[in-house]
């Protein structure tokens, strides 16, 4: 029953190499979620508009719902699971938990990936820099102020806190 395309595509995700069954034009998101069982990145729009599917390609945030899996071969893909786990949380996860920065939470993994990439290049961002970096991330619940606070906490910009 299973149609297995005859491709020899291999991608590197969270430091591990994986052979990909999907055809080359398949959006990376489906491979991450359905082949590798990495569920942090979510399907939000399939159009690259909302940011819920954000992962890192060589440290840069990308929209995995519109990037063909073939385009990431030879690069390092990092998902939220590669940043931190429940047993070994990444500072940005600790910051989001400390700020209780989630309502439904569906957009939050993408927010954390965008935030982690921002903090790599801008370790102490201003609120304006955060706003600019998050221009492509949508939250419908209205958790924005907590998300900004969580990024500032992760950056160590909140007095008396360490993430």
């Amino acid at each position: 029953m299973q149609s297995t395309p005859a491709t020899a595509l291999s991608i590197t995700v969270n430091g591990q190499s994986h052979d990909v069954e999907a055809t080359p034009e398949t959006p990376l998101l489906y491979v991450l979620r359905n082949e590798l069982g990495l569920h942090a990145a979510k399907f939000g729009c399939g159009l690259g508009q909302c940011g819920t599917c954000t992962v890192h390609q060589d440290g840069q945030p990308i929209r995995s719902c519109v990037v063909p899996v073939s385009e990431v071969a030879g690069t390092e893909i990092t998902t939220l699971e590669g940043l931190g786990t429940a047993d070994d949380l990444h500072p940005i996860q600790r910051a989001f938990i400390a700020e209780q920065a989630a309502q439904c939470g569906y957009c939050i993994p993408g927010m954390m990936m965008t935030g982690a990439a921002l903090l790599q290049t801008t370790p102490e961002p201003t609120d304006a820099e955060i706003t600019e970096a998050f221009a492509g991330n949508l939250c419908r619940c209205g958790t924005h102020t907590r998300i900004v606070r969580a990024i500032q906490r992760a950056a160590g910009n909140v007095a008396g806190t360490t993430a």
């Binding site: 029953m1 299973q2 149609s3 395309p5 999907a22 055809t23 398949t26 959006p27 489906y30 979620r33 359905n34 069982g37 990495l38 569920h39 942090a40 979510k42 399907f43 939000g44 729009c45 399939g46 159009l47 508009q49 909302c50 819920t52 998902t79 939220l80 699971e81 931190g84 786990t85 429940a86 047993d87 996860q93 989001f96 938990i97 209780q100 989630a102 309502q103 439904c104 939470g105 569906y106 957009c107 939050i108 993994p109 954390m112 955060i130 706003t131 998050f134 221009a135 991330n137 949508l138 939250c139 419908r140 619940c141 209205g142 958790t143 924005h144 102020t145 907590r146 998300i147 900004v148």
Partner: protein, 787 residues
């Protein structure tokens, strides 16, 4: 200082209804098992008995000892303690709840309420909710009524369970019950610390008791967990890629699907039938298992998700339109003219008489509310496993208990053969696509004989989800010689705000499309008049509701239902009346308000905001344009949810750019009184949500359509608030621990649009009465003022 109690009668009333859905979560289990999440990516087959079935297979929060027989015979009556609670030999508590988690933190707060009554640690409790075989129905999880309505039910069950345990402890220890104390699930004799027994040791048998309603619940001033900002029990999984959402579940043998529908829908039918379908090429595509056509319902099922997506895109389908959509530009005129059931719901004094004889100055105004979307950040999803003898369906519906009767007939099963298991989805804010997608998945699973995972496309969610409906509100008001309101005449044109399935197959989209189609069922008029009655002391009032029978798009519940539109009309008109009276808008409201809680909410918001009393408008504020030409203003509005529940007052500061019509909210202050506060941090999170979503609905959100289709189908055509739009938010929480807790997910959104409109007026002198207040509408209103 009376402890809140719940009468058995009201409790049983609440439990009416059928169906239920449950999901489990436990703080202890979440942390204990967190490391296992990544490995537990596979969910056991559903639908037929597995060797060790669980409430949420493969996930945390599963009572270990549960067998299929336990599941099939579980008491979900709600009449007994055991139907709500169980305690195991380790003293671990399982709460069986009929209200589901919609992303509001409800399960955390309900767990707080239960562990408070039981005197057990938060970490010892697991909450399971929304499984029609495991949990008592508590109806639809909606209206922000779960703390308010379901909380006391669970509290009472816990109080009764505690009584049973203390009775057992008393017998076991030989100590009178009055001389026992409980801490963290350990019962100790007050005067002999050596006499001690744990809940686990006492849990040798089921409770075996009916709920009597007699067990006293705790006095609020002894609360130790309720009232605390306990962290969300669901957050760790959500923030670490755990199986936090239905969308993340995988079922063995699962295949993937997409559906194809016309982008037309009305309340009385889909509005289009299948014209032609050519699936020849699609059937030959890799991985495609089947193309299902049943009447006008079309779906594709494939081995892999991306194959289903491609196949759906490649299908050659045409539709025969039977009900064209009306002209969006004429929609508000049409709303006045369409068939409607008229109802006068408030008549106080003599409105016409007061206008004729007591009114010195009169004002009339009309307000309109556009069609708006739930716009959940992820499209709706379901996994269904339909077999000859039964079905199991994972759903994110708010109304899981009503789904077996709605879906069963569509797939040829009796309702009792359909098990719905709730699993959280993205925030829904009301009746979005979660119900319909569940029925779609069930039909497709039945057709292919395999478990089917169906997630709608982004465009599908925007096109097919029920809409927060367009409305028209006409107001007339009269002031007497002293500038007080003597007459208030309110007329609203609205459809019902609920087309939830209600156990009716004809209310599922697929039910209307299959052959033979099922007619939509009429479920009465709901929610369009919410917050139409005001809370002010006005001697002569009339409220007339025209219930539209043929709205353009299928309407249903969107956060606050009609509450937002009606509060917008009432509170903008209140400001217009204050201006007519030459009064400060806060003082004007207070002078017409007798309810001390409302008065305090308004005063607290105004004080926190630094409100300076004066009439609204640039001639009174003395505002001068900034260097960039922008002007600032400040607006106030108040609402008591449903005119009888929680109170919210908001002060919104805006900046308006008269050159391009852009409006930006810069600061929002909220005064909020929802009685007893169960979880202050969770409450503030919800209020933030009301403020931000409310601003979006004030400034940006509007569904568009042409003659044949909804045209706002993605985030570039349906605009919501982004990070650049977010104001400073300050919240004044008024805690009233001696008052019952009231729902808090919706009250604060109600006054938001009015406060923005009033602020724009204060900044510019222009009244915005038709939302959303886009730059084009603002420029139009400014042009009208400047002539």
């Amino acid at each position: 200082m009376t402890a809140p109690t719940v009468s058995p009668i009201s409790r049983r009333t609440l439990l009416k209804g059928s169906g239920g859905l449950v999901i489990g979560f436990s703080l202890a289990a979440a942390f204990r098992n967190a490391g296992l999440l990544a490995q537990e990516a596979t969910v056991a087959p559903i639908g037929t008995p597995a060797a060790t079935p669980s409430t949420e297979p493969g996930l945390i929060g599963t009572p270990a000892a549960q067998t299929q027989e336990d599941i099939q015979t579980r008491d979900v009556s709600g009449d007994t303690i055991d139907s709500w609670l169980s305690i195991d030999g380790q003293g671990l508590v399982t709460i069986y709840c009929g209200k589901v988690e919609l992303g509001t933190g409800l399960w955390t707060s309900l767990t707080q309420m239960v562990v408070e009554e039981l005197d057990v640690p938060m970490a010892s409790a697991t909450l399971i909710a929304g499984d029609t075989l495991l949990t008592p129905s508590q109806g639809t999880t909606a209206g922000s009524k779960s703390i308010q309505v379901a909380g006391p039910v669970l509290q009472q069950a816990a109080a009764e369970a505690r009584m049973v345990l203390l009775t057992r402890a008393s017998e076991r220890l030989g100590v009178p019950m009055d001389d026992l104390q409980v801490e963290d699930g350990v019962v100790t004799a007050l005067f002999d610390a050596t006499k001690t027994v744990t809940y686990g040791e006492l849990a040798t048998d089921t409770f075996g008791m009916e709920i009597t309603g007699d067990a006293p619940v705790k006095a609020f001033d002894t609360y130790r967990v309720v009232g605390q900002s306990i962290p969300r029990i669901d957050i760790l999984s959500k923030l670490t890629g755990g199986e936090a959402y239905l969308h993340d579940l995988t079922v063995e043998g699962m295949v993937h699907a997409r559906v194809v529908r016309p982008y037309v829908r009305t309340m009385d039918g889909i509005g289009a039938t299948l014209g032609s379908l050519d699936d020849t090429a699609v059937r030959a595509m890799p991985g495609v298992i089947d193309v299902i056509q049943n009447g006008s319902f079309i779906g594709v099922v494939a081995e892999r998700e991306e194959q289903a997506v491609r196949a759906a895109d490649a299908l050659q389908v045409t539709w025969a339109q039977t009900a064209p959509l009306p002209d969006l530009g004429q929609i508000y005129d049409l709303i006045r003219e369409m068939p409607a059931e008229e109802e006068e719901t408030v008549r106080t004094g003599d409105v016409e008489g007061a206008f004729a004889s007591q009114t010195a100055r009169m004002l009339e105004a009309t307000y309109t509310q556009p069609y708006q979307a739930h716009a959940s950040i992820g499209p709706s999803c379901s996994i269904a496993d339909v077999r000859a003898d039964g079905a199991t369906i994972y759903s994110s519906s708010q109304g899981v208990y009503a789904l077996p009767a709605a879906i069963g007939p569509i797939i040829g099963l009796a309702p009792e053969q359909v098990r719905i298991i709730y699993k959280e989805g993205p925030g829904c804010y009301g009746h979005n696509g979660a119900d319909d997608v569940s029925a779609d998945a069930a039909v497709l699973s039945k057709a292919v004989g395999r478990p089917v995972r169906l997630q709608w496309s982004r465009e599908g969610e925007f096109a097919w989800e029920p809409k927060g409906p367009a409305m028209v509100m006409d107001l007339r008001g009269g002031l007497d010689n002293e500038g007080n309101i003597v007459a208030w005449d309110y007329t609203v044109f609205t459809p019902t705000h609920s087309t939830r399935p209600g156990g009716q197959p004809g209310n599922m989209l697929v039910g209307q499309q299959i052959d033979p189609p099922v007619e939509p069922a009429t479920l009465g008029q709901t929610g369009g008049d919410r917050n139409a009655p005001n809370n002010y002391s006005i001697p002569n009032q009339r409220l007339t509701v025209h219930w539209n029978e043929t709205p353009a798009l299928r309407p249903s519940a969107l956060r606050s239902l009609g509450g937002l539109a009606n509060a917008t009309a009432n509170e903008t008109f209140m400001d217009e009346m204050a201006s007519l009276a030459g009064a400060d808008p806060v003082e004007f409201r207070l002078r017409h308000m007798a309810d001390p809680r409302a008065v305090e909410v308004m005063r607290r918001a105004a004080t926190r905001a630094g409100w300076m009393a004066r009439p609204s408008g640039p001639q009174f504020s003395g505002v001068v344009p900034a260097a960039d030409g922008t002007v600032t203003g400040r607006g106030f509005a108040f609402a008591r949810y449903e005119t009888e529940f929680a109170y919210a007052a908001v002060v919104v500061d805006v900046t308006v750019n008269p050159a391009d019509g852009t409006v930006r909210a810069t600061r929002v202050v909220v005064g909020h009184d929802c009685g007893l506060i169960v979880n202050p941090d969770g409450l503030q999170n919800q209020i933030d949500g009301c403020v931000i979503q409310g601003l979006g609905r004030a400034l940006k959100e509007e569904i568009t359509f042409d003659g044949s289709a909804v045209t706002s189908l993605d985030w570039s055509t349906y605009h919501i608030m982004g990070f650049a739009d977010i104001p400073l938010i300050e919240i004044e929480l008024i805690d009233r621990p001696d008052q019952p807790p009231l729902g808090a997910g919706e009250p604060a959104i109600c006054p938001m649009i009015a406060a923005v409109s009033n602020a724009i007026f204060d900044a510019t002198g222009a009244r915005l009465r038709n939302g959303p207040f886009t730059p084009a509408r603002v420029l139009e209103a400014l042009a009208a003022v400047t002539g």
